[in-house]
Amino acid sequence: MLDVMANILQTTVLYSTPLVLAAMGGLFSERSGVVNIALEGLMTIGAFTAAVATLATGNPWLGLAAAMLSGVAFAWPHAAASIRFKADQVVSGVAINFLALGTSVYLVKHLYDSGQTPTVQETLKRMPIPGLDQIPVIGPSLFNAFPTTYIALVVSILSYIVLYRTPFGMRLRAVGEHPRAAETMGVNVVRMRYTAVLISGALAALGGAGLSIAIGSEFNQNTVAGQGFIALAALIFGKWHPFGALGAASFFGFAVALALMGQFFGLTQYVSSEVLNMLPYVLTILALAGFVGRAEAPAAIGKVYETDSR
């Protein structure tokens, strides 16, 4: 029984890591008032860049760094369009998704003449934390995890501290709730939102990188396959709070783990594997409908901010 629990936990951690990182990315952007439906695209470009950079340098840490840069680069047009040019933020996000998928697959085909990158050999490996990884049940999953998992945990905690404890975070949230109020208090709304969206790009790309150079070992057009949208859902599910989003992403990973465990225990004799596969999604909806309900978005989210002092 214990090892089953350990297995479930391990799957949960594995599956939710990229979601957590991307959701934290979304958190910064949306808390500052900019809708980020582009998480999917930002994860995609991160996964692509990480794979290519790791293949080129042989160093997955450089891959992670390059991925973050690419995330910033692709978040930039989203920021520019929705902040500087006052475009509709959903429209701009959808465009980024197209842009990222198009660019990355185009480049893969151009660079490797193939639908996917070659296999990345130098991926990030599990990093046991000596001692702690021997703890039963949680040891193997939480303390013998991929570096990205540790990063995700640290990022979650840092996000909380930055958003709720520092002046920067307070200003960022103020900008997302009532930008004009923030402006009258001397906060530069435009710069704040730019910063938030760019951070969002870096984190989402980091999440994507985990898919191509930690859990996985290549990039193709199916590498991200909707996880950016799930991360967005986790962000909303988690009520735009770092720990809420962390919890929601983990919940989703947990549901995936349950569905897989079902197959191990021969549940497929009674229900089809497709039905088991629906479980994570059904559970999420039930959880939302039953316990979570209405989530209150940052008040100024999605709204174009008009400055008059040009």
């Binding site: 404890r165 002046p167 109020a181 923030a182 208090m185 001397g186 002092s309």
Partner: protein
């Protein structure tokens, strides 16, 4: 010494010159009133002083030195603080967080909460502005919120404070308290620029008044040497009548009867508790009360927007307690809601569409399930003319209208539906005297046509002037009935605060 001087300020917006060579000079240590009709350009001028807008032309001097105010930060550095017409508060934040935003005390990179709260407490005690530093904005009253706005400016060391229509949203008690605070501030050496539409307030507290009309300075005068009447005509450019000409009311049958009604608010607390109320045809019943004593919930229950927990509501003798809002409206209830932009209008619809927001599916505006836009626009055209709504045409989006004209459009719509009962909630909030005059006339006209009018207002002035009977609400009940002819503001205020009054008019 001049604390502030603005010379030849011009600010153009697309299609309009909001400020046209405006001149303003404010003495150190005075309370300087800025008076003008809606849209005269007062807020624009103050936004320029606060650095939110850049003037197209003109110069600004602070303490006799020329300055360029490039943004709110610069304004704060120059000692200018502004309390905005629409509150600039972050609702989910605490009082302290709102005050320190942008100038946070930190220790080791994190916000030093304790120090911040201590500082807020200190300033609030110094100026007599009591607030709870840890309360959330969304949980405190409007009056409290305003204090937070004032504290924000003081926290930044403001010497010149701009108050843009601060009293429009306050109850009489809160206004009194605010006046006291303002006097305190002046005593501490601050200078105040005070925008209000209420001439009485200017007479009461200000030293100097500057009047602007259509973006131009009309003149400046000492308050001592002027009168309300003179100020009004300076501002509007014509004579304004303050008293409403109305005949004795001749109440007819009972139109609205509310019996031991109990209504819960959004948090499930009983906001209205066993309330009884009657409004008869041909009378205006004024509903006075400090904001938050159940008035809003009462009106929402009558109009069907909120479920009654217990009790009955009868319209012309028939129960409407459990009917849907639409059914109630169709039975003859008109409603001018409190918050016009949020509840009264669909800002992205044309005026024409807004004029049929309840009746769009009835003849002549619809035939079967198809809309008849020609009829809708014809209807709107007529109302625009009848009610003097200033708009380019009936196809203009409601968003493009000024607040006063938006309000006129709503009143036009509700009155035109010819309801037996007209509920008017704060119908003149934020409007200038000209517009107020117009709306008051319309309400009395309805009464004289034999309609029942229920007027909810925080302006005691308005209540006293218009009502035939006054009901004062306190703690979810009618605390007492007063006769406007024999009572006065003090008496109403006392009831509003939960006190007792000797003379009351009999109900019914």
């Amino acid at each position: 010494m001049n604390a502030v001087e603005m010379r030849g300020i011009t600010k153009r917006f697309p299609g309009i010159v909001a400020n046209d060579q405006v001149h303003l000079s404010v003495n150190q240590g005075e309370i300087h009133a800025l008076l003008g009709e809606n849209g005269a350009g007062k807020s624009t001028l103050m936004n320029i002083l606060f650095g939110l807008y850049q003037p197209d032309e003109g110069e600004i001097f602070i303490r006799e030195k020329p300055v360029k105010i490039t943004g709110p930060t610069k304004a704060a550095a120059l000692g200018i603080g502004m309390v905005h017409q629409h509150f600039m508060l972050v609702e989910p934040f605490t009082v302290t967080e709102n005050i320190i935003l942008g100038a946070e005390p930190t220790s080791r990179g994190c916000i030093d909460r304790h120090r911040a709260e201590r500082e807020v407490r200190e300033i609030s005690e110094k100026y007599g502005l009591r607030v709870d530093p840890t309360a959330r904005i969304r949980d405190i009253s409007v009056g409290m919120q305003q204090r937070v706005e004032i504290l924000k400016t003081l926290y930044r060391g403001a010497e010149v404070l701009i108050f843009d229509e601060p009293t429009a949203v306050l109850s009489p008690q809160e206004i009194d308290e605010l006046m006291e605070i303002m006097e305190n501030l002046v005593r501490e050496g601050k200078t105040i620029i005070f925008i209000t539409h209420k001439l009485k307030e200017i007479m009461r507290i200000c030293d100097t008044v500057t009047v602007i009309r259509r973006g131009k300075t009309i003149g400046s005068t000492s308050v001592k040497g002027t009168s309300e009447q003179e100020l009004a005509s300076m501002m509007v450019g014509r004579e304004v009548s303050f008293s409403v000409n109305k005949q004795e009311s001749r109440p007819g049958k009972t139109v609205l009867k509310v019996q031991s009604l109990t209504v819960k608010d959004s948090r499930g607390v009983e906001a209205v508790r066993g309330l009884d109320l009657e409004v008869r045809a041909g009378e205006i019943v004024g509903l006075a009360g400090v904001d938050g004593n159940g008035q809003s919930e009462l009106l929402e229950a009558i109009t069907g927007l909120r479920k009654a927990h217990a009790g009955d509501i009868l319209l012309n003798g028939e129960a409407i307690t459990r009917l849907q809002p639409r059914a109630i409206a169709r039975r003859g209830v008109g409603h001018i809601p409190e918050d016009r932009q949020k509840r009264g209008l669909v800002l992205d619809f044309s005026i024409g569409e807004n004029m049929v927001l309840q009746t769009y599916d009835q003849t002549p505006f619809a035939k079967g399930f198809l809309l008849r836009y020609p009829e809708i626009f014809r209807h709107a055209k007529r109302l625009i003319e009848d009610f003097d709504v200033r708009t380019p045409d009936e196809q203009t989006h409601a968003r493009a209208l000024s607040g006063g004209n938006q309000q006129k459009a709503i009143i036009a719509r509700e009155v035109d539906r010819d309801p037996d009962l007209l509920i008017a909630a704060q119908p003149t909030r934020g409007l200038d005297v000209g517009a107020i005059e117009f709306i008051h006339r319309r309400l009395v006209e309805q009464r004289d046509k034999g309609k029942a009018v229920l007027l909810m207002s925080l302006e005691l002035d308005e209540i006293l002037k218009l009502s035939d009977r006054i009901a004062v609400m306190y703690g979810g009940r009618i605390a007492g009935w007063l006769n406007p002819k024999t009572t006065n503001e003090e008496e109403i205020g006392l009831l509003m605060a939960g006190g007792k009054v000797g003379e009351e008019v009999a109900q019914g």
